[in-house]
């Protein structure tokens, strides 16, 4: 088991943990953070691949992901604040209004 494989396994693990967090946690803020974790997992895999292939494209993508993460959080947090103002809770289960 070499370095690349370990890093890729870590990337997958981070992504999976993030995903689990999104599914199992109740708190909206925690879910948001788990999403960040998933992004981090992806970033790690990008860097690892870039490192292995000695290419800079991965780094460019990582940079783009940073920006996306920043933009996402910049919009997500106000939305969460608004949501909490309307229902006074961070529990996602109380926001299931869009039933089919």
């Amino acid at each position: 088991m070499d370095k690349t494989q370990v890093l890729l396994a870590l990337a997958v693990a981070l992504f999976a943990l993030g995903m689990i967090g999104v599914v199992v946690r109740r708190n909206v803020l925690v879910m948001l953070m788990c999403m960040e974790l998933m992004l981090n997992g992806v970033n790690l895999s990008l860097v690892t691949f870039a490192h292995q292939a000695a290419s800079n494209v991965g780094a460019v993508l990582v940079f783009l992901v940073f920006v996306v993460a920043a933009a996402e959080i910049a919009i997500a947090i106000p939305i969460v604040l608004l949501l909490v103002r309307s229902k006074r809770t961070l529990d996602l289960a109380s926001y299931s209004d869009l039933k089919g």
């Binding site: 890093l7 999976a16 199992v24 708190n27 803020l29 788990c34 490192h51 920006v67």
Partner: protein, 177 residues
């Protein structure tokens, strides 16, 4: 022994950071308080930054700490502090999907890991090509020569985010007024 250890210090540190990052990430699922979760996430990010540094992409490591920890997570921590602690969501950690979620997540990991093992087993360590990493100069040059369109797109995205955030705030103001 020590020489060998020192020679492989990079690798050792890498494994150590990886293990810490994993543990911190796992803690995020378990911890109840959002603030603690945030701290766990920050620690994951820092360790990841360390890994980037060890891989030789120092500027990514720097961005990781600056942007993620410095900007995003600070914002997140503000938000956590702004909100009410008596919220029932703080007491009940998990949703209904705890067991299936974990099972699916593990399955996901197993599936990908199995694939990893299968696909990369025979890929010998190509190793980073000759000192491998490239510096911020190459990165900047590549960005502005080849990927200028993507660079511009990020700025558009950021502008859009700013406008959206303002709009959301406006909505709340109107509601109040």
């Amino acid at each position: 022994m020590i020489e060998r250890l020192l020679a492989n210090l990079d690798t050792l540190l890498l494994y150590l950071f990886a293990a810490c990052a994993f543990v911190s990430a796992a803690l995020m699922i378990v911890l109840a308080q959002p603030m603690r979760v945030a701290l766990a996430l920050i620690s994951t990010m820092v360790f990841l930054g360390g890994i980037y540094g060890l891989l030789g992409v120092h500027f990514i490591a720097a961005f990781q700490v600056l942007i993620y920890v410095g900007a995003v997570m600070v914002f997140m921590v503000y938000a956590i502090m702004l909100l009410d602690v008596r919220d029932p969501a703080y007491q009940r950690r998990y949703s209904r999907y705890l067991v299936p979620g974990i099972l699916a997540g593990v399955a996901f990991f197993a599936a990908l890991a199995w694939g990893l093992a299968r696909e990369f087993a025979d890929v010998a360590e190509g190793g980073p090509a000759a000192g491998g990493a490239f510096g911020i100069q190459q990165f900047a040059a590549a960005f502005l020569n080849e990927y200028w369109l993507h660079f511009e797109l990020t700025s558009v995205l950021l502008v859009a985010a700013v406008v959206a955030a303002l709009a959301v705030i406006n909505v709340s103001r109107r509601d109040r007024g």
